[in-house]
């Protein structure tokens, strides 16, 4: 039986003009822009220090932006003209355009605060072409201290930081259509917070730990395993709209260690080979290894199904200098990767690197300038007033670049909302009671069932039935299994505040799986390579489906669905509903 009392009966009350939930790249830029405009800002994150918060705290090696450098392709306008083709009908082009035009501006801001994007050996920008983009927009740089500097600047600029804090739910005004704050707790001390704010920016990243991988270790994930859709879930519970939740993203990864870095292999000129020694990518895309990630993953799946395993990355043909630089750079994006190769006894300069596919994340379905998450307008605000979304949890995402751009836009939008707000915002006390009760449920449950088994069951059903190859029959099975898990969820028990955090994360992952399943069932076509692949609807149907599915919580319970086109926000009546 659980006996973990809160450290005190009371809660700690905090207040700021702008609350930023999640202190990664998007959250820091939101904070900086809001501070610039004179707002008070509180940033909450599960990490102990803002310098170390978010998915790129360990390092990052690319930033994508046009630089207006004189070449025809080097402008936001040129990049933007390719965005509709990249996003496959599943982005809001007005918001995407706003983000694209923000890129050079936010790049300049980052440079001004002391981030060096040049190649240390030449002092120049080193630019490469990747992911099917129409120019050399990716700057390779040593970003091992990028997040450290950004976090440090944000705090120095005046942001207050709330460490080791999982924000669990939003608070709303009477009527429910205005966000007025949030609640959370410290995962070590159990101190509870009720935070009042006139605007809340949710920048909690993508959704991981939702499907199985090769090693079978749930936290061995390509992307940050502590990003579990907490922001998506709290926004959804508060009535916010989410979109593109059926799109998944996996990557090519060293077999056994799910890591990022595919773009650097491809960008450097690596070959992807099958067991016959064939450069198989050209069978699937004229760009070969430089095709979009979702095409790469789809091709790997085809090769595996055709019995052409094992598959390899081959960099042996690259010139010695390139090899030196490349192998050295692998440790920037993922610090432990060189050590992994060493412990495995593998010299990738001389040997083939076996590759496979990673687990899936819910995150933009492999294409920049679209996203899986909160539907926002050109000020990054959601349909719930006062709630803003930025980064990988919002509907226009794309690595640290789009996160920075949308974060900056959200910060400015939040300040505009604060300025347009009357002094006192009423709090609906029932929203506070609900939030506190949901937060403490695992501490008072007494079933003896824990989050690990719950999460394993989610990963198994998602992998088997809602994963890389979907069918109506499979997803209906998943729907049943998810309903069972949902019914059991109130009994999950936590015996520490750390475990409370994991348990609430597991519940958010389950909700994400449910939303994903309903949207994927509804989309009776295949789209964007491996992002949404239906075995029973293998064709892409642009007539019916070149539009996004928007989900929100139905007032009567269950999931409400609407459509959204590239150029129109969701205004249509509900088109269907899930369970």
């Amino acid at each position: 039986m659980t006996d973990v009392p809160w450290p005190s009966d009371g809660v700690t009350e905090l207040a700021a003009d702008v609350l930023v939930v999640g202190g990664g790249v998007a959250g820091c830029l939101a904070a900086i822009e809001a501070l610039d405009a004179g707002a008070t800002v509180l940033v909450a994150d599960k990490a102990k220090f803002l310098e170390r918060a978010g998915s790129v705290a360990g390092g990052v090696d690319q930033f994508m932006t046009p630089l207006n450098g004189g070449e025809e392709w080097d402008t936001p306008q040129h990049l933007m003209s390719f965005v509709p083709g990249l996003t496959d009908g599943l982005s809001d082009l007005d918001v995407a355009e706003r983000a694209v035009h923000e890129l050079p501006r936010v790049f300049q801001r980052l440079t001004d605060i002391g981030i060096d994007f040049t190649d240390p050996t030449t002092g120049e920008y080193f630019r490469t072409r990747a992911f099917g983009l129409p120019g050399e927009y990716h700057l390779n740089f040593d970003g091992s201290k990028f997040k450290y500097k950004l976090g440090r600047y944000t705090v120095g600029h005046g942001a207050k930081f709330l460490p080791r804090t999982m924000v669990t739910d939003l608070l709303t005004a009477p009527g429910g259509d205005r966000v007025v704050g949030a609640v959370g707790f410290n995962c070590r001390t159990g101190e509870r917070y009720v935070i009042r704010a006139k605007a809340v920016v949710v920048s909690t990243g993508d959704i991981n730990r939702i499907s199985r991988n090769i090693s079978g270790l749930p936290f061995d994930s390509w992307h940050f395993p502590y990003n579990t859709g907490d922001g998506h879930a709290m926004a959804f519970r508060s009535g916010a709209r989410l979109t593109n939740m059926e799109l998944v993203e996996a990557t090519l990864t060293p077999l056994g260690f799910s890591t990022q870095g595919t773009n650097s292999y491809a960008g450097q000129g690596a070959y992807f080979l099958n067991r016959h020694g064939e450069r198989f990518m050209f069978k699937y895309d004229p760009k070969g290894e430089k095709a979009r990630r979702t095409i790469l993953v789809d091709a790997v799946i085809e090769e595996v199904l055709a019995g052409n395993e094992p598959l390899y990355v081959d960099i042996r043909h690259l010139p010695a200098e390139t090899l030196d630089d490349f192998v050295a750079s692998l440790g920037i994006d993922r610090y432990t990767l060189p050590g992994y190769f060493e412990q495995r006894g593998l010299d990738i300069r001389k040997e083939l690197l076996p590759i496979g596919i990673s687990e899936m994340s819910i995150r933009r379905g492999g294409s920049y300038f679209r996203g899986s998450g909160l539907v926002v307008d050109t000020s990054a605000e959601c349909n719930v007033t006062g709630l803003f979304g930025a980064g990988d949890c919002s509907m226009v995402s794309g690595g640290i670049s789009a996160a920075a751009a949308m974060g900056a836009i959200a910060g400015r939008g939040a300040v505009e909302r604060v300025q347009a707000t009357e002094d006192e915002l009423a709090l609906d006390s029932s929203s506070l009671e609900r939030a506190l009760s949901w937060m403490e449920q695992p501490l008072v449950a007494t079933t003896g069932r824990g989050w690990k088994d719950h999460e394993d069951r989610i990963r198994t059903l998602v992998t088997d039935y809602v994963g890389m190859r979907r069918t109506d029959r499979g997803m209906r099975e998943a729907r049943k299994l998810l309903a069972t898990l949902a019914a059991e969820e109130s009994g999950l028990e936590a015996s520490s505040f750390h475990e409370l955090m994991r348990t609430l994360e597991a519940k958010n992952i389950r909700l994400a799986a449910e939303v994903m399943t309903e949207a994927a069932l509804h989309r009776t076509e295949s789209r964007s390579g491996a992002a949404h692949r239906r075995l029973d609807h293998p064709e892409t149907d642009d007539v019916t489906w070149k539009r996004s599915i928007v989900v929100s919580r139905a007032p009567e319970g269950g999931i409400r669905m609407e459509y959204m086109s590239e150029t129109e926000l969701p205004t249509a009546a509900a088109v269907g509903s899930g369970t």
Binding site: C187, V300, V304
Partner: protein, 99 residues
Amino acid sequence: MTTDSTWAAPQPDPTLHNPIKINPETCISCMICDYVCPGDVIYKQPRSKELPVIVFPDECWYCGLCEQACPADAITVVFPEEMLNPTTPVTSLLGVDPK
């Protein structure tokens, strides 16, 4: 706001692979690995000579932030057998037909 209080961390399950090896000879008992770990995996009692404890080894991301940040070079990230010599076929990640 409180700071992290001294906290009786639960003991790790000894059957789990320990991903973070700490050299007791060189560890200077500072707090840095505890502070930088993004997964709340490493616990170090403040103001104590005790070594940090890897309390939740199966929640490690293998990011190596602890190894990178350790001022005494006392940490090595050690990969488990499942990652070094994986045996799971890729086909098992590609979905099944419901029975």
